[in-house]
């Protein structure tokens, strides 16, 4: 069942930018990675999902409710993290989180405290004096504290240190295993790689591709750089039928996608001095959509 549905959504801004005929959906329990260069329309899409702006054409729904007209109902089950975080002036982190907790009518404080602990946030400071990363943590806690069914996260790890980024990825994977639906925009391939089930790439306001991460990963080819003893070994490998990328001296690059057994058998006949693996990453697959 699709939780988030975007149907032919078009929103043009005065400068000609925007999103055009956007059409995609996010299934229940799925993490949807939303990629694209700066200014491609990621945040514009998210604004539509949050009901902040009126569309020129098309519509979007979350759990069957219209994003623009049934916002109040939708927000009960959505956790939202804005891309640019702005809080109330002069509130401490604690006061702000308490304020959001009350605005969301949450009775149970335990999840909020768990999250504060998990992200090692010191909430007693004035938000105005917090660093970018600390503000981001406050934003994440606000988005996750009411344990919603759906998450909409706009560049959630920006400003976080590597340890906290890992922390965040773990949190996402936990939520995913609890059946939550997540749409997450990002520039960081690593976090998308570790969390997403599908990836949508947007460029200049149009969706250029939607790919299943698991099948991409399965089709990723591995390149083995093998150092062998002499020219005879090179010849054995060359005549074996394995896919050869290049040969430099006694070093040979072999491309392997599924034929690991054959690869093994061939190498067993040679005097192998060393093997290096060159991983083709998701980043390389998607980089072509940027630029």
């Amino acid at each position: 069942m699709s939780i988030i549905k975007v149907n032919n959504l078009t929103k043009t801004y005065k400068n000609g930018k925007g999103i055009f005929d956007l059409d995609f959906s996010v299934k229940e329990g799925e993490v949807f990675g939303y990629l694209g260069p700066n200014g491609a329309g990621k945040t514009t899409t998210i604004r539509q999902l949050m009901g902040f702006t009126n569309a020129d054409k098309g519509s979007c729904t979350i759990m069957g409710l219209d994003c623009r007209t049934q916002t109040e109902e939708i927000q009960k089950s959505v956790g939202y993290l804005p891309g640019e975080i702005a809080f109330f002036d002069n509130m401490t982190g604690e006061a702000f989180l308490k304020f959001i907790k009350e605005m969301k009518s949450i009775e149970d404080k335990s999840r909020m405290h768990d999250l504060i602990e998990r992200f090692e946030l010191d909430p007693s400071r004035k938000i105005r004096k917090m660093s970018k990363g600390m503000k981001q943590k406050v934003g994440i806690i606000s988005a996750f504290m009411h344990d919603p069914e759906v998450y909409i996260l706009d560049e959630p790890t920006s400003g976080l240190d590597p340890l906290m980024q890992r922390n965040f990825i773990n949190l996402i994977n936990e939520e995913k295993s609890r059946g939550k639906t997540i749409l997450m925009s990002s520039h960081i391939f690593e976090e998308i790689d570790k969390t997403s089930d599908r990836i949508g790439v947007i460029k200049e306001g149009r969706l250029v591709t939607v790919e299943d991460v698991h099948s991409i990963k399965a089709s990723l080819r591995k390149i083995f750089i093998v150092n062998v003893g002499n020219q005879k070994d090179i010849d054995i490998i060359k005549s074996s039928g394995l896919e050869i990328n290049s040969v430099t001296g006694n070093q040979i690059e072999i491309v392997v996608s599924s034929n690991y057994n054959k690869f093994n058998q061939v190498l067993a006949k040679c005097n192998v001095l060393g093997i290096e693996i060159l991983n083709q990453s998701l980043e390389q697959v998607f980089m072509k959509y940027y630029g």
Binding site: N54, T71, E72, A86, F88, S142
Partner: protein, 266 residues
């Protein structure tokens, strides 16, 4: 209406309101304390020695013969306009436009509260805080008058005068609130939200200043607040009240409806 938001808005704005109320009460005290029923004529003579246009612009021309007319003309033509106006300009802009401009509105709207609830709560805050300022002023002014000149103040007339002043600021507040609701950045919201009331204020002073410019009174809301006419229980007061209520109703409703419908740059 949302209680949590109302509380938060109160917390970040009560300071301004309190300062405004304190300054207004201080002025009320000094104006009342220099009143002397025996030498009101002398005071009128003294006022006559000052430049005529300036005195007229501030509405001090005719001080009347009683404590009530004296307070009405010295205070409600100038002080009681200037300070609430400053309050309404500052707070009106903060209530909506600032949240939209800074982006904190995104957090408000990502809670299960409709835009209507959020913006109505902010409107309610503006209306009730203006009311609170006037209530404090009324209480203080009546106490000061009763303490210094027991029985001299026409309380009914004074209350009516304050009611019209309060409604004037419901209307002026409505105007700043409307601009706060429709603009994306505080610069615009503030230039219109402050510009229009200040223009009314200047037009009001000019229209008081002389016969040639008295036609300007048709272009300013503040001419509906005419202390002399109100204290004479003139029938025009009722018309003023109705017009002020209509302006308030229209501006707040438009602000709320337009905010609910428009695209927000969050």
């Amino acid at each position: 209406m949302n209680k949590t938001l109302l509380k938060a808005t109160f917390k970040s704005n009560w300071g301004v309101g309190l300062i405004i109320a304190a300054v207004m009460i201080m002025y009320a005290f000094s104006i009342i304390s220099i009143y002397d029923p025996n030498s009101l004529a002398g005071l009128t003579d003294m006022v006559k020695m000052m430049p005529k246009e300036l005195v007229a612009a501030m509405g001090f021309e005719d001080l009347g013969t009683t404590l009530t007319t004296y307070v009405g003309n010295t205070y409600y033509n100038f002080i009681a306009i200037l300070f609430p106006m400053i309050y309404v300009i500052i707070v009106g802009n903060r209530l909506v436009a600032k949240h939209v401009d800074s982006g904190s509105m995104a957090f408000l709207l990502s809670t299960p509260n409709s835009r209507l609830t959020i913006v109505k709560t902010q409107a309610l805050y503006l209306l009730s805080s203006i009311t609170a300022i006037f209530l404090l002023l009324i209480l203080a002014a009546i106490s000061i008058c009763q303490a210094m000149f027991p029985g001299s103040l026409d309380i009914g007339g004074f209350l009516l005068l304050n009611l019209v002043s309060l409604l004037t600021f419901y209307a002026i507040g409505g105007i700043t609130f409307l601009f706060s609701c429709i603009f994306n950045d505080t610069k615009q919201s503030l230039s219109f939200g402050a510009g229009v009331p200040i223009a009314f204020f200047v037009l009001n002073m000019l229209s008081n200043a002389g016969e040639q410019m008295s036609w300007l009174k048709y272009f300013t809301i503040f001419s509906l607040l005419n202390p002399t006419e109100i204290l004479e229980k003139s029938s025009t007061t009722l018309i003023s009240i109705i017009i002020l209520l209509m302006i308030s109703a229209i501006t707040y409703t438009c602000g709320i409806v337009l905010f609910n419908r428009r695209s927000l740059p969050l």
